[in-house]
């Protein structure tokens, strides 16, 4: 085996070990979330039956349910069992993919999530992508012309943008682009009254509905990525290898994009992963503002109806999605950073 080949296999092993470590961390996170979901309605003071059925107190359901129905329902939710038995029941239901039944929407939670999750994924993935591309591009631009007028202007503009709550920003976008100029629809993810003749038209309509919500979500995220790219680029540009690249006569563009940017991207990728949790919050604001039928809207509707089954399962599924997206970012990270070690960065 040649030398470079051996190095390659060592690197691969390191990468795999790193990914395995991350997967372990995510598994622990999911376990904690399962524990929260199980414990919250059961350990808080009060009647867990009331919580689970969405009533505010035992007096609330006493009038609506006779003693027999109450007994049947308690048995259905496993509330007549001991806590340990309930936990086993909870886990075994999850293991076969049974997320329970929504008393508000009157369908299984599985079905609800299957309908809503794809819309949220579309929204969040588009939002992350747009924020990354725009934030990184502006960050590079700012670092390149550092302390110039454009750098100052971009910095002021983007820090100002970050200070506007997404639900206010989104309502202004709606006001300008949907009401005033009539360019985009006011709400929803697609036109429910249309039957599309072709797949292309269907896609067009979906993109048309996606534009403003995804833009609003991305605008909240772009500043962090811009500031980080700018700082990382300024750091990287001071490194000796960059000076060496310049001395060898590479063009400015080549030095910026081929030599400096890949290294400056590493912290940006890490940051994107850490921000996913915050983005799930942004998703909730944006979806409830734009009436976008994803998980975020589901959350808000379930909250006002006190539909605990939906809230819990939504919480769990949002976390699962976050974990999957984090793993995808870890793959990017491993490819970008040759120094990846077994321990955490």
């Amino acid at each position: 085996m040649s030398c470079s080949c051996e190095k390659g296999s060592v690197r691969l092993r390191r990468q795999l070990a790193y990914l395995a470590g991350r997967a372990g961390e995510y598994a622990i996170t999911l376990l904690v979330i399962l524990a929260i979901n199980f414990a919250l309605p059961r350990l808080l003071p009060g009647d867990s039956f009331a919580y689970i059925t969405g009533s505010t107190s035992s007096a609330d359901y006493a009038g609506a349910l006779d003693a027999h129905s109450q007994k049947v329902l308690r048995a259905y939710y496993g509330l007549d069992l001991s806590l340990q038995e309930q936990f086993v029941l909870y886990l075994s239901q999850l293991a076969v993919g049974d997320l329970g039944y929504s008393h508000f929407f009157k369908v299984s939670v599985n079905q609800l999530i299957a309908e809503r999750l794809p819309w949220s994924m579309l929204l969040v993935v588009t939002g992350v992508f747009v924020a990354l591309v725009v934030g990184v591009a502006l960050g590079v631009l700012s670092a390149w012309r550092r302390s110039g007028n454009m750098d100052r202007g971009l910095w002021a503009l983007l820090t100002a943008l970050r200070s506007v709550p997404s639900f206010f920003l989104g309502s202004l976008l709606l006001l300008i682009f949907s009401v005033h100029w009539n360019l985009f629809p006011l709400f929803g993810a697609r036109d429910m009254t249309l039957i599309y003749p072709t797949a292309l038209e269907r896609m067009e309509d979906i993109l048309h509905h996606l534009t403003l919500p995804a833009l609003t979500l991305a605008m909240g995220e772009v500043t962090g990525k811009y500031l980080l790219t700018r700082a990382a680029m300024l750091d990287t540009l001071r490194e000796e290898y960059i000076m060496f690249s310049r001395a060898r006569g590479f063009s400015d563009t080549a030095v910026m994009f081929r030599h400096a940017l890949p290294n400056a991207l590493i912290p940006v990728i890490t940051h994107t992963g850490m921000r996913l949790g915050v983005m799930m919050g942004g998703m909730i604001f944006v979806e409830s503002l734009f009436g976008y039928p994803g998980m975020g809207k589901l959350f808000v509707d379930a909250m006002s109806a006190r539909d605990l089954q939906v809230l819990q399962s939504g919480f769990l599924m949002t976390s699962v999605v976050m974990v999957v997206m984090n793993l995808a970012l870890d793959l990017v990270y491993v490819r970008l950073d040759p120094r990846v070690e077994v321990t955490k960065p």
């Binding site: 550092r146 100002a160 200070s163 909250m303």
Partner: protein
């Protein structure tokens, strides 16, 4: 330094408004002061909302909730996050590992869905909101302070003091806290901005205390009104609270960044 002065001025003004709210507001924010949905006039400077409450008075009193939320977040982050981060960085070992693993897990949990789940168990009130803000404010701070402490304890004067027999508490009081103070203060200002934003967000999705009108809750009610985009109502009902939130957060952000720059000279050439 322009950013710092402008930021401090705005924060100071909001403070004044919050303190003197009862003198500045022509009506009580809860009283039915006029007919519903009036346009601005001499009596109601920003018109009235759907049930006839004076919007300008709500705006004045809303500053109190926003500042309270910001303060709760700042105090929670500094006290809880600061001391946990200091403990983890200073004592190291097992305590450090356990605490930091806890921080990692906490950050990996989607916060707002968790808040909604919690909120389903408690009635919406200002106390609930503030508790939730404190509960979610500490993790990032703990991680940041820990890394700063780790680098501080490597310094030679710390080493020297330790050799001379200084106790742990003495080291913390005499060297660590003074060195950390600028960072703690900067972070407190930035977390304050986070608190203002988070309160507005919780109120917007309907978790606000209905008896305590905050800027976020005003947005909630304004956007809840079907005709908000199609009449001029947005100009005096939607825009003012939205702008107030944005300007206060911007002032806190710029103040925080400017403080960071002043105390951390390596950042200076970057801007």
């Amino acid at each position: 330094m322009k950013a710092l002065h402008a930021g401090l001025l705005v924060i100071f003004l909001v403070f004044l408004v919050a303190i003197f709210a009862p003198l500045l507001a022509p009506f009580s924010p809860e009283s039915l002061a006029g007919k519903p949905l009036q346009s601005p006039d001499k009596v109601h400077w920003l018109g009235t909302d759907r049930i006839g409450q004076d919007i300008f008075s709500q705006l004045v009193f809303g500053s109190r909730v926003s500042l309270l939320a910001g303060a709760a977040a700042a105090v929670g982050a500094t006290l809880i996050g600061g001391s946990l981060g200091m403990a983890a960085g200073f004592f190291g070992g097992r305590l450090d590992r356990v605490l930091m693993r806890g921080v990692d897990i906490f950050i990996a949990i989607p916060h707002l869905p968790f808040m909604l789940l919690l909120a389903a168990h408690f009635p919406p009130s200002l106390a609930t909101t503030l508790t939730v803000l404190i509960l979610f404010s500490w993790a990032g701070e703990a991680r940041l302070i820990r890394s700063q402490v780790l680098s501080l304890r490597q310094r030679e004067y710390m080493e020297a003091a330790r050799m001379a027999g200084a106790g742990k508490l003495y080291l913390i009081q005499r060297y660590l806290l003074p060195e950390l103070a600028p960072l703690l203060l900067t972070q407190a200002v930035l977390r304050c901005g986070w608190g203002v934003l988070a309160e507005a967000g919780l109120a917007f999705i309907g978790l606000g205390d209905p008896t305590q009108k905050s800027w976020g809750l005003m947005l909630h009610y304004a956007l809840d009104y079907q005709g908000i985009y199609f009449t001029t109502a947005w100009q005096w009902w939607l825009a003012p609270p939205g702008l107030c939130i944005s300007i206060l957060i911007l002032a806190l952000t710029w103040t925080g960044f400017a403080m960071e720059e002043r105390w951390n000279p390596t950042l200076k050439e970057g801007r």
